[in-house]
Amino acid sequence: MAVKINTNRGQVIITNKVIVKTIANVCTSCYGVVGFSNNGRTIKKENIAQLSKGVKIRANQSKLVIDLHIVAAYGVNIQSISESICRNVKYEIQHMMGIEVDKVIVHIDNMVEKE
């Protein structure tokens, strides 16, 4: 899967890998996110290729559906951080890449207290 953007000056093709890594990057700077999770395994390395395993994307009628599997910090308001993750990711992807986002689904797979 890849995203094709037709502009009046030509075509832009963005591969999944790029989208997924961008999303992972946006997500790491969201408050309350201390890691990602891949099939239940926690990934805390600050390596974008590793982290992006916690990001899944699919298409729904030319719009993007994003699943985020994250590890949250202990002691934060989960509902609030989830809301702001959804909003940040949606905003950044729509503005940085021009791809419309249908929905962002945040899965809180684990919780840790980082010291």
Partner: protein, 540 residues
């Protein structure tokens, strides 16, 4: 000394200040999403704490207790990014005050450091130039100041002052803030809260809540927004020099003052000129002094820019063309995964005895592989059902090869031929794994009895199709027993896959022993890397 009652009043005072100034904060909100709700979020987050603090005013309690209640209330009421960070900062305060009746100046100063640390611990990649930066830099200043001061009021003053300084630097750290000409709204919110707290310490009374909030624009900074385009017109032309001796340098100097991105190439009898300017007329008039003009092109860049922004590109999401065949295999161990990759598996699902992939995981893999016909190797009895469920949901043709162990899966993979039809492949893969008889060596998790074999917890046990066939203490001995039970007259090849807990030399020893006993068999040793199972042994 600072008491619980005083802290409660400080919080109320700070909360009032935050609520009074929420409109200002809303206006300043441009990062991370310019949705103008920071003021609303922060004031709503703190209003729960305010209520709790007001309840405390009736009966005095310890400061640790008050701080804890305030932090909990803020945590529950936290909204938006800045609200959550605010709750973390107050949680940091509570951590340091915990169990104390009242606190001295040194502890109070330390609260700021702990607050900053707590806030930073909840994010992987902190964005500098936000409330986090303001909290950290002011806590550093406070810590330094507390070495020489023992006065709570002075420390609070220092905190407010340093937070304000830090706040004024936020546009240097976040370009988005600079472009909008504002300081960070969340950071401002923290400063406002601290100012409210200071108001109480200074005046001894709670800062009152204003009826209607007024808009103050004191924190707008003088910066130029829309930095990308400074000059409107992109001007380009060629000059045919009237004589080879004209002085191009004077022309260059004149026009460089009224524009940027200037390129002037002096090429014998022609001069090529490119410049961004607001006065293309002046540029052209000066150029006329050197010669006649050619190929004049003047574009309005602002217009182009707007067009670019307004015109929404059409977006379509396309799929790559489908491959003929795709193979999905479930693996339990890194060694197995790399063997499978070599054998041409397109997608490996990590799974196994203790961690079965769901039908959803398998379906996702099917979509990813993107092939016309997909062979699915569950490699575990427990996964076959999920695989069937995924097959029924998938749009593509999925053929399940019902392998119940990884060694069976590997035999099936060896039988796959990219040039055969899918029916032939299905047949030969199913035949191939059917010829494999395999078993495994693992340990018992509890005492039991199976097939007449008495097993104690932590004993090494060998299993084949019919159940437990041997138990004991020595892994290799049990594995050898297993080999003997698996090998029959038709056997030709023994493959020993050793797990993550077994050393390669132990596996080699086992192989030698098997070879010595059954001289007409080929024995090969492979690293499976599987957890839980010491060995998987396949005989075919």
């Amino acid at each position: 000394m600072l008491t619980g009652l005083q802290y409660a009043k400080m919080i109320i005072s700070g909360a009032n200040n935050l609520i009074n100034q929420k409109e200002l904060l809303n206006e300043m909100n441009v990062f991370p999403v310019p949705d103008g709700d920071t003021g609303k979020n922060m004031s709503m987050s703190i209003s729960g704490a305010k209520k709790v603090a007001e309840d405390i005013l009736d009966g005095q309690t310890d400061i640790g207790n008050v701080a804890d209640k305030v932090a909990m209330a803020t945590l529950r009421g936290a909204r938006g990014n800045s609200g959550v960070i605010l709750s973390q900062l107050l949680r940091g305060f509570a951590k340091e005050m915990k169990g104390k009746k009242s606190i001295d100046a040194k502890t109070f100063a330390k609260c700021f450091s702990i607050a900053s640390q707590t806030a930073y611990s909840a994010v992987m990649k902190p964005t500098e130039g936000t409330i986090l930066t303001v909290a950290r830099q002011s806590s550093e200043a406070v810590a330094e100041f507390a070495k020489t001061s023992d006065d709570i009021l002075e420390i609070m003053k220092k905190a407010v002052k340093s937070a304000n300084i830090s706040l004024s630097h936020t546009p240097d750290l976040l370009p988005k803030l600079k472009a909008a000409g504002v300081v960070d709204a969340g950071g401002k919110g923290w400063v406002v809260l601290l100012e409210g707290m200071l108001f109480f310490l200074e005046k001894g009374e709670i800062l009152p809540l204003e009826e209607s909030t007024t808009l103050a624009d004191t924190s707008k900074l003088e910066t130029t927004a829309n930095e990308e385009i400074t000059f409107t017109y992109c001007t380009e032309f060629l000059i045919d020099k009237s004589s080879p001796d004209v002085n191009v340098d004077i022309f260059k100097n004149t026009i460089s003052k009224i524009g940027d991105c200037m390129v002037v190439i002096d090429d014998f009898d022609i001069v090529k000129v490119h410049i961004h300017t607001d006065n293309p007329g002046v540029v052209i008039q000066n150029a006329l002094k050197i010669g006649s003009l050619n190929d004049i092109k003047i574009d309005n860049m602002r217009y182009q820019h707007n067009e670019k922004i307004i015109k929404k590109p059409e977006v379509e999401i396309t799929k790559e063309p489908k491959k003929e065949y795709g193979i999905i295999s479930v693996s339990a161990g890194e060694g197995y995964s790399s063997i499978m990759k070599e054998l041409g598996v397109n997608h490996i699902i990590e799974g196994g005895q203790t961690m079965n992939p769901s039908a959803g995981d398998i379906l996702e893999a099917i979509e990813k592989v993107n092939a016309k016909v997909i062979y699915l190797l569950p490699n575990n009895k427990n996964i076959i059902l999920a695989a069937e469920a995924a097959r029924d949901m998938a749009e593509d043709k999925v053929v399940i090869i019902g392998t119940s162990s990884v060694p069976q899966g590997i035999s099936a993979l060896l039988a796959f031929n990219n040039n055969s039809s899918w029916e032939e492949n299905e047949k030969s893969m199913k035949e191939a794994f059917g010829l494999v008889s395999d078993g495994s060596v693992t340990y018992a998790v509890r005492d039991s009895e199976n097939n007449g074999v008495v097993i104690k917890k932590d004993d090494v046990i060998a299993l084949n199709k019919s159940g437990v066939i041997a138990s004991g203490k020595d892994i290799n001995e049990i594995a050898f027993e297993l080999c003997k039970s698996l090998i029959n007259e038709d056997a030709g090849l023994v493959t020993i896959y050793y797990g993550q807990d077994i050393k390669e030399e132990d596996a080699e020893n086992l192989a030698e022993k098997v070879e010595a006993e059954f001289s007409d068999l080929d024995v090969s040793v492979q690293f499976g890397g599987q957890p839980i199972y010491y060995y998987n042994i396949a005989v075919e």
